[in-house]
């Protein structure tokens, strides 16, 4: 079978569905965030909150709202875990220890869903439902809100405000994520994803052995886990578990859920700024990277490189029979190209090159198409950098969408771009450079010997610093060092870029609009999209090539 014969049919299905939904969904999201009308239920909610929905916030005030809401969220999820023994449906599980509870609270509030814990033996239904699943909704809504505020910065002229965070949060939840999750959960339920409060039951198997069968309110959590690009599994095996993802079509449906909002947001952006071609230029850059990465990963896994895959005759270690190689790689690629981090196969057991591609997907900064909201603002920051570089090359004052890219703007964009690599490389380097930490990492955390062990640690910090949440899951991350370091990484990786994006939005909003002249570099052409892809790839390659050469590249090529 040729590559095209196995990859094109499922891929084409995804492309056709996205082509059909991105317009109505993108336009609907644009209307949602620009409408002057509030639903009556929303008005009641705003009264309760003491928020005037007509008031618009400065970027600092908007940021304060984001940070206040997120801080309270971390506290609530932490407390729920620490008091688990007192909560209903805790399945007899004790309170989660401090370090792990901190890591997990941060992980879900930052839309990362990194899991240092194994759910079956750590969390009861109440913490999952009332703590984690709620954060799956609201962290995605925060991402959407920040993206929309950033886009408003381009639309505004000589304005001091970006909109109201509480209104954006409420609308993202009530008008987009909750209706979407309701529909998705019902479809998953019909596909065999479980939804019950049965706890663990023990059955006598056909041959007289004993087997534990788990229960849980899974479908409701699974729906928002995918739609909100969160990714944290109800079970340890995540979407490889038959109760989370029973069949090839539910798996493809989950792939589409991950991509639906991120690939529709460029349309929302284009609609809001009144230049749809600009949105499609962004979409084109996302799609180009997406297709190349997915194809490369599929080739790598199908070729079964490496000693173990060669010994088995196929890279089926860690993969489910019903999904096969192609269905596994499609899911893994989409999950890391968005910031979801769910898995339906175990990336740690991928071929060296096949396992490097999910890492590269994250190292690109989660922009192809990235997480809900964060993918759009990430790619727009890269567009700002691209325009700046293009302007330098031809000696023109750089401007994007009528906004000048001055010193303050490029500083903020640069800080945004530098945050993630600094966190990845510092975290990984510290883990190996500090003798005490290295002993802990080597002795306790790393599962696989040799070069692959470095890859496990590199993958972990890459995942945390991109708020992805997937893992080379052989790594034991439930240690004081990794719980703390990855927790801090997730926090900084989520909120520092949000600070820079909102500050940048404030700077753009305060500007007037530069008229388009013959000297303006167009940003809605194939050429500009190509440049955007080039800048994205080059920034990543220059930053990460050396460390990739030490880990997966060496493992795959030696």
């Amino acid at each position: 079978m040729t590559l095209a014969a196995v990859l094109v049919p499922p891929l084409l299905t995804v492309v056709v569905v996205l082509a059909l939904i991105h317009r109505p969904l993108g336009d609907y999201m644009a209307r949602t965030f620009t409408s002057g009308r509030d639903l009556s239920v929303e008005r009641g909610f705003y009264r309760l909150l003491g928020v005037d929905p007509a008031s618009s916030q400065s970027w600092r005030s908007y940021l304060t709202g984001v940070l206040a809401f997120s801080a309270v969220s971390v506290l609530l999820v932490y407390l729920l875990q620490r008091t688990q023994a007192l909560l209903p449906y805790s399945l007899g599980l004790p309170a989660v220890p401090e370090g792990l509870a901190f890591n997990t609270a941060v992980s879900f509030v930052t839309n990362t869903n990194w899991q240092s814990y194994s759910p079956e033996v750590t969390l009861g239904y109440t913490v999952q439902m009332v703590g984690l699943a709620v954060q799956n909704f609201v962290s995605a809504a925060v991402g959407l809100a920040v993206a929309v505020a950033f886009v408003r910065g381009f639309v505004a002229r000589r304005s001091a405000t970006l909109g109201n965070f509480w209104v954006d949060l409420t609308r993202a939840l009530l008008r987009i994520l909750l209706p979407g999750a309701l529909v998705a959960a019902l479809i998953l339920l019909a596909g065999g994803v479980i939804q019950n409060f049965n706890g663990f039951t023990t059955v006598a198997t056909l041959t007289g052995g004993e087997q534990v069968i788990p229960g849980g309110p899974v479908a409701s959590q699974e729906a928002i886990k995918m739609l909100g690009t969160n990714g944290g599994g109800f079970f340890n095996a995540n979407s490889a578990h038959p109760f989370e993802n029973p069949s090839p079509w539910t798996s493809l449906f989950q792939v589409i859920l991950m991509l639906a909002i991120p690939f529709s947001l460029p349309r929302t952006f284009g609609t809001m700024i009144g230049q749809r071609r600009q949105g499609y230029a962004i979409l084109g850059a996302m799609a180009a990277i997406f297709l190349v990465s997915l194809t490369a990963a599929t080739i790598a896994e199908l070729s079964a490189g490496g000693t173990a895959p060669q010994a088995a005759g196929s890279a089926m270690e860690g993969k489910e029979q019903r999904f096969g190689i192609v269905g596994s790689v499609l899911f893994g690629s989409v999950s890391t190209l968005t910031s979801t981090g769910a898995v339906n196969s175990m990336h740690d057991s991928y071929t060296a090159i096949g396992g490097m591609l999910p890492m590269i997907n994250m190292m690109l900064g989660e922009v192809a198409p990235g997480g809900v909201g964060s993918g759009l603002y990430g790619m727009l920051v890269l567009a700002v950098v691209t325009v700046f570089i293009s302007g330098l090359l031809v000696g023109r004052t750089p401007e994007y969408l009528g906004k000048k890219i001055g010193a303050r703007e490029i500083k903020l964009a640069s800080l945004y771009i530098l945050t993630m690599p600094a966190l990845v490389l510092a975290g990984t380097a510290l883990s190996f450079a500090v003798p005490a930490l290295r002993e802990d990492i080597d002795g306790t955390s790393i599962l696989n010997p040799g070069l692959h062990g470095l890859s496990e640690v590199l993958y972990a910090f890459t995942s945390a610093a991109n708020n992805n949440g997937s893992a080379f899951a052989g790594l034991t991350a439930n240690t004081p060092w990794l719980n703390t370091a990855l927790g801090v990484t997730m926090l900084l990786a989520r909120f520092l870029p949000i600070v820079f994006v909102l500050a940048l939005a404030g700077a753009f909003a305060a500007q007037g609009r530069v008229p388009v002249t013959a000297g303006t570099l167009p940003t809605d052409r194939v050429q500009s999209t190509t440049l955007l892809v080039g800048v994205t790839v080059i920034v990543t390659a220059l930053t990460f090539f050396p460390v990739l050469a030490l880990g997966p590249l060496a493992e795959g090529l030696l």
């Binding site: 003491g50 309270v72 609201v138 309110p217 578990h241 173990a308 010994a311 339906n344």
Partner: protein, 202 residues
């Protein structure tokens, strides 16, 4: 400057917002989905329990082992894939092995399994398919490839004194093609196959 006051005010707003949202999204929403699962659908929300002679023997979509207490294959049954969930097919500990492509333990495990399966089935080691040699992502994979199922037919026919052609027909009838004709791989549900096998053998 009012910024600290505004921070305090927004913290209050955040607390109120999170309380209400937790009730709506963390309680109302999952209970609504649970209600629909109870009312509108069959046993899917409960994980499709399989009953045989009035007792539940497992789930139609969760794999199980057909081995003795030591993990040795029971030769009269079709065998599932190797599993890394607990001691094998432990539904309380779903997991892959997470062993990397160059891990010597994994290479050794694959070689051991190849020899063991070839020995059990009395076939050339090269004939053993990859799904028989590798653990799945969940450790609860309910499926094997049609090729692995057919490989086991002669052994089971001999053990039970059944006709190979009948067993091949059984495998054929249990084989599911890819979803919608093109998604995923063809599969054989091992529990379902073994239940059909038991029925055939009575």
């Amino acid at each position: 400057m009012s910024s600290s006051r505004s921070t305090v005010r927004q913290l209050g707003t955040a607390v109120r917002a999170l309380v209400v949202l937790t009730l709506v999204l963390g309680v109302g929403y999952p209970l609504a989905i649970t209600g629909v699962g109870r009312l509108a659908l069959d046993d899917r929300a409960d994980g499709q329990p399989v009953t045989l002679d009035g007792r539940t023997v497992g789930s139609a979509i969760i794999g199980q082992g057909f081995t003795d207490a030591e993990g040795a294959a029971l030769p009269e049954w079709f065998q599932s894939r190797p599993s890394a969930a607990g001691d094998g097919y432990d539904g309380g500990a779903s997991s892959g092995s997470n062993l990397g492509p160059e891990n010597p333990d994994l290479v050794a495990a694959i070689e051991d399994r190849r020899a063991a399966v070839a020995d059990l089935e009395g076939v050339d080691p090269a004939a053993v398919p990859a799904d028989a040699l590798t653990t799945s992502g969940s450790g609860l994979d309910p499926h094997i490839s049609p090729g692995y199922a057919l490989l086991q037919v002669p052994r089971i026919a001999a053990e039970r004194g059944l006709d190979e052609a009948d067993l091949e027909a059984l495998v054929d009838a249990t084989t599911q093609g890819p979803d919608l004709g093109y998604l995923g791989e063809p599969t054989v549900d091992v529990l379902q196959l073994n239940i059909a096998l038991a029925a055939l053998d009575t």
